[in-house]
C-alpha cells in the first residue's frame, strides 16, 4: 500500500466517525475564565526556541573554547630546544613541554628522527634520548668538545626555566656516561629574522644566534653561509678569537643584545641578562664560578659586564678549559672590587692588559654602529641607565686600579 493510500484510508475512517452537534455545543453554558489554568496556559514557543538557540550557541562556544585551550596548550609550539654539535637537531615542544616534532635537515641526524618516536614525550626525556642516539649512532666525533643547548621561546623567563631543567638533566646524563663534553647553554627570545636564517641554512636558531655574535665580533670577514657549515667547536673557537680581537671595542653593542640570556646550568643560577644590561658587552665564556674546573664536562656561561666604561678599565683574557683553582668572582671583577692582590688565585690563562695598552676610541665605523644600536635600545635602557649610573658612581669610588675586566675564553 502506498503512502497516499494509507493517508486516504485514515482520512476516510475519521471522516466517517460521528461528530459533535455544533448547535448543542454553542448552546452549552460557558464560564469565562479569570486567568489561564494548567489546561489553557500558553507556552511561549518563540522564547523556548530562543532559549534553545542560546543554549546551543553557549554549548558551541564552550566546545570552541575548550578546543582552543587544548590546541593552545597541547598543539601549538611554545619552545624550541636545539642541540648542536657537528650539525643541529631541534625539538619543538608545547606549553606542557611535550614534544610536538623533531626537526633536522642533516641526513645523518635524520637517522635519529627515524629511530626515535618521541611525540608527546617529556622534553627532558626526549633530549636525553636524542643525545643517547647521537652518541650511539656516532654522530658526535671523538674530537667534539662542546655541544650547544639552546632554548628559544617568546618569553625569556620560560626559555630560561626550560634551559635549566633540560641542561641540568643532560649534564647529569653526561656525568653518568662519563662523557667529556662541555655544554654551552643559551636561551633567547624568538626572532623572525633568526628563524628565517635558521630555515635558510638548515641550522638551529641557537646556532644562528651564535653566528650572529661571531659576525658581530669579527665584522664582515665571514658570511652566515660559511659559518653555518662549521661545528660548534669551531664556532666557539672563532667566537673566542673574535672576542679577543674585539677587546678594543668595548662600547660595541652586541647584535642580539636584549634577547639573549646566559645561564649556568650546573648552578641553576642566571649570571647575566642582556635585556637588562643594555650597555654591557658580551665578553665570552668562562667556567661557572662554582664549577669544578678540573672536570672537563664544564658548563660554560657568558659573563656580561654592566657598564662599558668599566670594561675599559680591565681586560682579562681567560682560558676556560683545564683551569683549576679559585679565580676572581665575577661580581668582584665587574664591580671593580677585584684588585689583583697576591692572595687571589688568578687562573694561569688570565692575562691582565693595562688600561694604557687599550685604544681609547673605537674605529669610526664601529662607533656609528654602536650609536645606532644604542638609539634603538634607548627606550629599554632609560630605567636601567639610572641604576647603572648609580652603580658606576659607587664603582668608581671603589676602583682603585682604574682598570676594567674583559673575560675571554
Amino acid at each position: 500500500m502506498k503512502r497516499m493510500d494509507i493517508e486516504k484510508s485514515i482520512r476516510r475512517s475519521v471522516n466517517k466517525a460521528p461528530s459533535l452537534d455544533f448547535e448543542k455545543l454553542c448552546r452549552m453554558p460557558v464560564e469565562k475564565m479569570s486567568e489561564h489554568d494548567y489546561i489553557t496556559r500558553q507556552q511561549d514557543v518563540q522564547s523556548t526556541h530562543h532559549l534553545k538557540k542560546l543554549t546551543a550557541a553557549a554549548c558551541y562556544m564552550a566546545i570552541l573554547i575548550c578546543f582552543a585551550y587544548w590546541f593552545f596548550q597541547y598543539r601549538m609550539p611554545s619552545s624550541t630546544i636545539a642541540l648542536d654539535a657537528q650539525s643541529s637537531i631541534e625539538i619543538v615542544v608545547n606549553r606542557k613541554n611535550q614534544v610536538l616534532r623533531i626537526r633536522t635537515l642533516n641526513e645523518d641526524y635524520k637517522k635519529i628522527t627515524e629511530e626515535l618516536d618521541l611525540k608527546n614525550t617529556d622534553v627532558v626525556q626526549a633530549a636525553k634520548n636524542v643525545l643517547d642516539s647521537m652518541v650511539r649512532l656516532g654522530l658526535l666525533k671523538n674530537s667534539t668538545r662542546t655541544i650547544m643547548l639552546s632554548v628559544e621561546n617568546s618569553n625569556i623567563e620560560s626559555a630560561k626555566e626550560l634551559l635549566l631543567v633540560v641542561g641540568s638533566s643532560i649534564q647529569d646524563d653526561l656525568d653518568e656516561k662519563g662523557l667529556s663534553l662541555e655544554i654551552l647553554s643559551r636561551s633567547f627570545v624568538k626572532d623572525e629574522k633568526t628563524s628565517e636564517l635558521a630555515e635558510q641554512y638548515s641550522i638551529s636558531s641557537g646556532k644562528v644566534n651564535l653566528i650572529e655574535n661571531i659576525l658581530y665580533l669579527n665584522g664582515s670577514s665571514y658570511s652566515v653561509e660559511s659559518l653555518s657549515k662549521m661545528s660548534i667547536d669551531e664556532l666557539v673557537e672563532m667566537n673566542n678569537n673574535g672576542s679577543n680581537s674585539s677587546k678594543q671595542y668595548d662600547n660595541i653593542s652586541a647584535p642580539d643584545k636584549g634577547k639573549t640570556e646566559f645561564i649556568d646550568v650546573a648552578d641553576n643560577t642566571t649570571t647575566g641578562n642582556m635585556s637588562e644590561t643594555d650597555n654591557s658587552n658580551i665578553i665570552s665564556f668562562i667556567p661557572s664560578e662554582n664549577e669544578n674546573l678540573t672536570d672537563k664536562t664544564a658548563v660554560h656561561e657568558e659573563i656580561i659586564i654592566d657598564d662599558a666604561e668599566e670594561s675599559k678599565d680591565y681586560s682579562v683574557h681567560e682560558e676556560a678549559e683545564n683551569i683549576s683553582g679559585n679565580y676572581p668572582h665575577e661580581e668582584e671583577i665587574s664591580s671593580g672590587n677585584y684588585t689583583g692582590e697576591d692572595n687571589a688565585v688568578i687562573p694561569p690563562s688570565v692575562i691582565i692588559v693595562p688600561e694604557d695598552n687599550l685604544p681609547e676610541e673605537p674605529p669610526e665605523e664601529i662607533k656609528t654602529k654602536n650609536n645606532n644600536s644604542e638609539k634603538a635600545l634607548n627606550k629599554q635602557t632609560n630605567g636601567k641607565k639610572e641604576k647603572n649610573n648609580k652603580n658606576k658612581a659607587e664603582n668608581n669610588n671603589n676602583n682603585n686600579n682604574n682598570k676594567s675586566v674583559n673575560l675571554n675564553l
Binding site: I6, I10, K16, A17, P18, L25, T40
Partner: protein, 196 residues
C-alpha cells in the same frame, strides 16, 4: 455526552485545511460571544483536533468528549489568548492536556490498564474492511508520537513544519517519525495481505 454526537458531515473546509490559516483575531471575536467566528474556527479545526485526541485516547467516545471540552475551554479562555502566531499549537495544547486528564481520570475510576485501552478500539462505523484494517493497524503498530503525526498529516492537511511547531518538536524529528511510522504501517499491512 453522546447526545451531542451525530453523523459527521463531510467537512466543507477540508480542502482549505491544506493551507490551514487561522486568523488569530478570531479568538477576540469568540471572546465577545461571536458564534459565527466560533463556527468558523470549529469547521476549520474540528477534524484535526478529533484526530489528535483520538490518537492519544484511542477511543472514539472519549475523543468526542475531549473535543467538546476543548472547544468549551476555547470559548471560556478566548479572551485570555495572547497572539503568538501559533493558534493551532494552543488548541492542541488544550486538547492534549484534557486528553491526559481524561486518561488519568479513567485509570483512577476504572483502574484501566494501557492494554485495556487498546481493547477499547472499535470502529464499528467504518464499513470498508481495508480502511478498518488501516486504522486498527495505526493504533496497534505505531507509538503515540508516530500516530499523532501521521493522523494530523492525513486529516488536518497541516504541513510537516506546522505539525512540528504544533507538537513542539524539531522538524527533522517530526519527519523521521512520520516516515518511520509509515514504513512500519506498510510493512505490517503487507504482512496482513500476505497472510490472507
Amino acid at each position: 455526552m453522546m447526545v451531542l454526537s451525530m453523523a459527521k458531515q463531510k467537512n466543507p473546509y477540508y480542502k482549505k485545511n491544506k493551507n490551514l490559516i487561522i486568523d488569530e483575531t478570531v479568538f477576540l471575536k469568540i471572546a465577545e460571544d461571536d458564534m459565527s467566528a466560533f463556527e468558523q474556527l470549529y469547521n476549520l479545526t474540528e477534524s484535526s483536533v478529533y484526530a489528535f485526541v483520538l490518537s492519544i485516547l484511542q477511543n472514539h467516545d472519549d475523543a468526542l468528549d475531549v473535543v467538546q471540552d476543548t472547544y468549551l475551554k476555547i470559548r471560556g479562555a478566548a479572551h485570555l489568548y495572547v497572539p503568538m502566531g501559533k493558534p493551532m499549537a494552543w488548541i492542541f495544547t488544550i486538547a492534549r492536556n484534557l486528553s491526559i486528564s481524561k486518561l488519568r481520570l479513567k485509570r483512577q475510576l476504572e483502574n484501566v490498564q494501557m492494554d485495556d485501552i487498546e481493547n477499547n478500539i472499535s470502529f464499528s462505523y467504518i464499513d470498508n474492511h481495508e480502511d478498518k484494517l488501516v486504522i486498527n493497524s495505526t493504533f496497534k503498530i505505531l507509538n503515540d508520537q508516530e500516530r499523532q503525526i501521521i493522523m494530523l498529516h492525513a486529516i488536518s492537511g497541516l504541513a510537516h513544519h506546522e505539525i512540528a511547531d504544533s507538537l513542539g518538536m524539531p522538524l527533522s524529528t517530526e519527519l523521521s517519525k512520520y516516515h518511520r511510522g509509515l514504513k512500519k504501517l506498510r510493512k505490517h499491512l503487507s504482512k496482513q495481505e500476505m497472510s490472507k
